[in-house]
Amino acid sequence: MVNIPVIRWGEEYESLETQELVHHSTGDVIGTQSMANGGLITRDMRKAQTARDILKQFSIEELVEKMGKAGDLFVNGNLSIGGSEQTPQDFILQQSATTGLPEHMVELGMSKNAFVMNNMGRIIDALTRGLPLDILSNGWGKEARGIPVSYQCQTPILAAVLPSNSPGVHTLWLPAVPLQIGLVLKPGQKEPWTPYRMFAAMVAAGIPKEIWCLYPGSGAEIGSAVLSKCKRSMIFGSKQTVDNYKGNPRVQAHGPGFSKILIGDDCVDNWEEYIDIIVESIYVNGGRGCINTSSIWASRHTEEIAQALAEKLGPIEALPPTDPNAGLAAFTIDGMATAIWDSIKDDLDEDGVTHVTGQYGDRLVEKELCGYIRPTIVHCKSPENAIAQKEYMFPFASVVECPEDKMLTSIGETLVCTGITNNESLRNQLIDCTEIDRLNLGPVPTTKLNWLQPHEGNIIDFLFRNRAFQVPEELL
């Protein structure tokens, strides 16, 4: 049995308060984790600068190389976690057990994380737009055209309050370490596995353990301690969480994506050509990500599109996590699946809303200790229907009937937008639309990520400030 300790600047600390890590469907206890109290963070953060000082003993290039090794170890290595050895297969079983993710999705998530670790040099090069890396280390340097340029580091450590529901988020904080910035992480209560395995892999790859803090604990207490004591933090949560931190330069809040596919009038008559990429956008990774499509917008053929999606997605069953064909993740909190389905049912009663997947059987699947919701497609006659703006943590999408000229004023916040149109005017409007973060022009799944692009804000801009800097000519 794994006993996960608190990590305080690399040192293990066993709390007197522990929480069991429980298998979502069998109820078996597979490990325990120490629960930190907020005061530990307040005290530890007084030593945060040491983490950066330690990392600055290495060049960014050296750290990038070590990250590559860590990536290999993350996927293939036997690593020490909480005093016991963890094989890659152990990791897959443990993460699937507590999060409800099918095992093959855990394996895919592992390879995504490893890809980012193995390609960190290219990713940093892309995110910095080719900036010489010693400028980030030294705080200033000279561009090729002879002009001084300064990037001032804003924090010795990056903190992150992580979710339990999506192991994919870890790629967002990974660049911090090669950028010589320490890490303070509050793992999700059901997903300590990835942060701890990353920690073990990086230490095994030669990155000093003293740059790490890991604080399992209650979201409210540990989360607020982390956010109040660290100069730069990421938090993953609900729309309310995001709204709470809007405009706060210390916090990068990640919440629901409300990602969408918009089909222009010039393409919509050929809607059948796009069904496969829409299905992929809704369904991949269990429909859990903020990049999964939650609505599809078109001015006509919407009922046919909804029906076609329902035909593909409606029959999908909830399969055990060990099944290689399992496409749905379990809701592991008691009563959660039922509560979500009840909320959806309320929205389905509204005029103009049609549930299209109902013909393929009940959507809610209640098990003894967990629940599932099978893929659900609804049709909305209008963007005004409440469910048109909803997003859920399973394959769910609304197909919304909306005139093309009203789409961009109706869609609201959109993390990823795929605009399927060849209409130059509509393309330009999509490019200009400030509600959209990541834009795909053409039939690209919303779930297709190019790691060389910033995601929901560029981490370089979050961690560094590009400021004016002047020195006498002889120092240049």
Partner: protein, 374 residues
């Protein structure tokens, strides 16, 4: 259990039974009872005056509903036998809506005088001045701590702290405001502590104690250095891990090394103050509370049947009974769960440990689960 402890337990039970009889007679007699209980008497299917002879007979009463405490007239709670005496009203809740109220004449003083007997004079010196670092306003705690200090011969300094505003700020998600308000409270405390008032003892909520220690360190000093030797704190946040953290990281060691002694308490406006067995590193900072019997009793009862005690070491809901001349509460289910503990030599009746908020079925809010970060 030793023979001596067995005898003490038996004596304590007899005392509780006799006290229960006396208090029920008081509250249900026409000449001494409160309008509330005399009115309730008519609804009961038994006569408390003849059918309650001991503590176990209190199970005949329905559970006390704290909603009965909401709204007026508050005078309905004053027993006729105590009419005309100076009366306080203390409130709980009240962030929104009508708070729950309890009238008090001198219970808070008696409870804290009893508690005073448990404080070691070495760390809570008689005559020392105190700081009350907790809620102000219509709270029992604020006056009770002040009385405790005065009872021990000292003068109590207080801060302004409106807990209802704190709850509102948290509900609004104004975390920066919350931090500023905490700083505002700590600034007041540090101002008093550094003004030469020779303060040696204090009450603090766990969060404020943590903030105070940190605030003092940021100013280059510490709780021991500023002269604090005795602290009492309380609430479900007061866990073994939190105690260990305080001892190891805020105080600089156990009392014999750091000179700072902290004792946990568990209580509320209805019950008074449950005291703790000694808390030590050797016992993994386990905190076991014993109610101030016979004035109040705590039981750990089955989640399914509030009249059924769980076994020792087992988990259940905390049930509270208050038996004073000012207030009669025949069984109130607290919003906490805990483990049932055996009697202790200092407190020869059942105790409760591991007190924490009651975890009933999660009240699932779908809106809280609609995020799906990637």
């Amino acid at each position: 259990m030793s023979d001596n402890l067995d005898q003490s337990v038996s004596d304590a039970k007899s005392k509780l039974d006799a006290h229960t009889y006396e208090i029920v007679q008081w509250h249900f007699h026409e000449s001494t009872g409160s309008p509330f209980w005399l009115g309730k008497k008519a609804e009961l299917n038994f006569d408390p005056l003849t059918e309650v002879k001991g503590f176990d007979d209190l199970k005949k009463f329905p559970l006390f509903e704290d909603e009965w405490l909401r709204g007026g007239p508050v005078n309905r709670w004053i027993p006729k036998g105590l009419e005309g005496q100076p009366t306080f009203v203390f409130e709980t809740g009240g962030t929104t809506g009508i708070p729950k109220s309890r009238v008090v004449i001198e219970d808070h003083r008696l409870d804290y005088e009893m508690f005073s007997e448990t404080l070691p004079d070495q760390y809570f010196p008689k005559g020392a001045n105190w700081l009350m670092l907790g809620p102000s306003g219509p709270r029992r705690l604020r006056l009770a701590v002040e009385h405790l200090c005065q009872h021990r011969g000292g003068i109590c300094f207080c801060i302004d702290l409106d807990p209802r505003w704190v709850v509102k700020v948290i509900k609004k998600g104004w975390m920066d405001h919350l931090e500023e308000y905490k700083k505002h409270c700590i600034d007041q405390a540090i101002t008093v502590l550094t003004a030469g008032h020779d303060i040696k003892c204090m009450f603090a909520t766990p969060k404020l104690l943590d903030q105070l220690a940190t605030g003092l360190e940021e100013r280059g000093t510490s709780l021991p250095e500023i002269g604090i030797t005795g602290i009492f704190s309380g609430g479900t946040e007061f866990t073994p891990q939190w105690t260990r953290y305080c001892v190891e990281e805020l105080f600089g060691g156990p009392p014999e090394e750091s000179g700072v002694y902290m004792t946990p308490t568990y209580g509320n406006t209805l019950m008074g103050l449950a005291c703790s067995e000694p808390v030590t590193k050797e016992n993994k900072y386990k905190i076991t509370y014993h109610a101030p019997q016979p004035r109040a009793a705590t039981e750990v009862v089955s989640f399914d049947d509030p009249n059924e005690l769980v076994g020792y070491g087992e988990t259940g809901r905390v049930k509270l009974t208050t038996l004073t001349r000012e207030l009669f509460i025949p069984g109130f289910l607290e919003r906490d769960e805990a483990e049932r503990e055996k009697p202790h030599e200092m407190y020869p009746w059942d105790g409760v440990s591991g007190v924490r908020p009651y975890t009933c079925s999660p009240r699932v809010q779908p809106s809280a689960f609609t995020n799906r970060p990637e």
